[in-house]
């Protein structure tokens, strides 16, 4: 509820004065006027729109048993058969980012691989939030030994470099995309559990919990409507940033060869393969890495501005 309210306006003191001055209060208004946020939103929009479109094309291609639907929109076939003649060509008009060892256009491959990263980001973050919120809220609300255990577990997870655990888990579970997603979710939820727990602790004593209970509202409803929805506000800002971080981690795993399924391209694994031809065919490793950088920056810029707005840090 509050997120909607925030999106449409309303933030007490500063707002009171601003509305008195006749200024537009909407969060989106503010965001759209901050350069940093605009750039971020632009990048994210391009990334998400493209990923959705291309993703749908690839799905359709799968259903129709015609994989070429997947590269209908691309300049070149990203998984064309290896060809010596077009191998390792530098960037040109024809191949804007050059070609790889198998002679495939790198630009097309990057575009082709985009939906996977977007999908991974969403699945991991949303799953982590779902899992983390349930555990965090329950622990924060009921306290006691449940809380203690949760705290210890999250402590153990948070100290640990996630990448290493993700590597170990992915390998153990088995090769493939889904094992990476599972592994990432496993290492991702503790942060959200902590966040939601912290919020729950603050919100627990706010009074509307007791009042709702007095009115006979069931506990689950209380937990969801009041605590979860209110706790969500600051968490959403963090989530925006986190999408980028997941993409970063996912690409790094792909770089190490985890979760990839040849011949399907992955940004990270392309960068890794390109290393063998570095520095002569520098484009092979650079462009995939730069793409990752660009997309992640987009999320960071947006997430950062979003956090500023939500927390009212309007000046700094």
């Amino acid at each position: 509820m509050n997120i909607l309210k925030k999106a449409l306006g309303f933030r007490d003191d500063v707002d009171a004065v601003r509305s008195a001055k006749g200024e537009n209060l909407s969060t989106w208004y503010y965001l759209l006027h901050k350069k940093q946020a605009v750039v971020g939103i632009a990048i994210i929009a391009m990334f998400l729109v493209w990923s959705t479109v291309e993703g749908i094309m690839q799905l359709l291609g799968g259903y129709a048993r015609d994989p070429s639907l997947g590269w209908l929109l691309l300049p070149h076939n990203p998984i064309s058969s290896p060809s010596l003649t077009t191998s390792l060509l530098p960037p040109s008009l024809r191949y804007p980012m050059g070609t790889n060892f198998e002679g495939q256009d790198i630009f097309s491959r990057l575009l082709y691989a985009a939906p996977k990263d977007a999908f991974a980001a969403f699945v991991v973050v949303l799953s982590a939030v779902a899992l983390g919120s349930i555990l965090g809220i329950v622990a924060g609300y009921y306290g006691g030994w449940m809380d203690e255990i949760l705290m210890r577990i999250t402590d153990a997870f948070l100290a640990f470099p996630g990448l290493v655990l993700a590597i170990a888990l992915s390998v153990l579970i088995g090769p493939g995309f889904s094992s990476v997603l599972i592994a990432l979710t496993v290492i991702w939820w503790p942060v959200y559990a902590r966040l939601f727990r912290g919020q729950t602790l603050t919100l627990k004593y706010r009074g509307f919990v007791e009042i709702s209970r007095l009115f006979g509202v069931s506990e689950a409803k209380v937990l969801f409507r009041h605590i979860f929805m209110n706790a969500l506000d600051p968490v959403i800002a963090y989530m925006a940033l986190d999408f980028g971080t997941v993409i970063l981690t996912y690409s790094t795993l792909a770089f190490l060869g985890i979760g990839i399924q040849p011949p399907y391209p992955e940004w990270g694994s392309m960068a890794s393969n390109g290393l063998s031809f570095f520095p002569s065919a520098w484009w092979y490793t650079f462009f995939p890495s730069l793409t990752i950088l660009l997309v992640v920056i987009g999320f960071i810029l947006f997430g950062d501005s979003f956090q500023d707005v939500i927390s009212g840090r309007v000046i700094d």
Partner: protein
């Protein structure tokens, strides 16, 4: 007697995301050497700002205009390096919240010794740890702290609010400043401790002859402590003069209201008087006299123009009831 501190037309703004907000306006007052002036105002009247403006320790969002003359030099236009020399041995300030006044990671004794070191450096004396420690102990004793030697080894978090305030006062004494500004030094303390700290300040001030500017919201405390009283409302000086005069015969309607609010202690008093309305926010000050919306005597002119400071029988008053002086602003 030459004034030790002269404030002329002091105006302070804060830069906020909503534009410049004026907090202090046209403050003009003289503080004589050796006297105690109580600056009385409600919360949000700008009194802390005044203290920080004088010591030039406003946050970066603060803008100061006007002049503050201390020993013949203007503090507003003084460069930071010279200001440093004024602070400490020239002007010192005791702050409101004792629990955040001292550096939490250093022992109390060390922080006091630092003060001594600064004073000695300024006077060209050689810093001697032994004699400095003795001085610190003596001062801690002066502020009536039991076991000064033990206090010196403690960290701030181990002391109570009252003890910390005394430590800070001791620090002030060690620096031997000409002026001490005390910003609500007793507001965070229990009433019984309050009385002790106030008595202490009074004693020390008389003993060492420094000028004490005592900022408070409590007229009763002001009455006990001061020689002169300055009434501050919405960042403006409303009345300033001899304490006895103000208490017995207040001129400004706001002062009158404040005094009326005191319980008279008589059986016949049925209701406690309180001033109607609320002090204005600095974001939306009324046009004209800032007290006009709450003043029982306000007339036409009060709502249109802001009165200037008038000199009436040796007292400074900002009210049209006493004359027609218009507030002069350099456009």
């Amino acid at each position: 007697m030459t004034a030790s501190l002269s404030i002329r037309d002091l105006t302070v703004y804060y830069k906020t995301p909503l534009g410049l907000v004026q907090v202090l306006d046209g403050l003009t007052a003289d503080f004589e050497q050796g006297e105690t002036v109580a600056v009385v105002g409600e919360s949000g009247s700008g009194k802390s700002t005044m203290g920080f403006a004088i010591t030039r320790l406003l946050p970066p969002t603060g803008v100061v205009e006007g002049s503050i003359l201390f020993e013949g030099q203007d503090l507003v236009s003084m460069p930071q390096k010279k200001l440093r020399d004024v602070r400490g041995t020239g002007i010192f300030m005791v702050m409101q919240d004792p629990f955040s006044s001292l550096n939490p990671v250093k022992k109390v004794g060390l922080q006091l010794l630092e003060a001594v070191q600064i004073r000695m450096e300024r006077r060209g004396e050689h810093f001697d740890y032994g004699s400095a420690s003795k001085e610190v102990l003596k001062r801690l004793y002066d502020v009536k702290l039991p076991d000064p030697a033990i206090i010196m080894t403690k960290y701030p978090y181990q002391l109570s609010g009252g003890q910390i305030q005394r430590v800070v006062i001791a620090m002030g004494l060690l620096l031997e400043p000409k002026i001490i500004i005390a910003d609500e030094p007793t507001s965070a303390l229990d009433v019984s401790i309050q009385a002790q700290v106030i008595a202490l300040l009074k004693e020390l001030q008389q003993q060492y002859g420094m000028t004490l500017i005592f900022i408070t919201h409590d007229l009763a405390v002001a009455n006990v402590v001061s020689d002169k009283v300055l009434i501050l409302y919405a960042g403006r000086l409303m009345e300033f003069g001899d304490k006895r005069g103000i208490i017995q015969k207040p001129m400004h309607p706001y002062t009158q209201g404040l005094l009326k609010s005191f319980p008279s202690g008589s059986y016949r008093e049925k209701e406690l008087y309180s001033l109607p309305g609320m002090p204005p926010s600095f974001f939306s000050l009324p046009v004209g006299c800032k007290f006009s919306d709450r003043c029982p005597y306000a007339f036409d002119r009060c709502f249109k123009e802001e009165p200037g400071i008038l000199d009436v029988e040796g007292r400074a008053v900002r009210c049209f009831l006493y004359g027609g002086a218009r507030k002069n602003r350099v456009a």
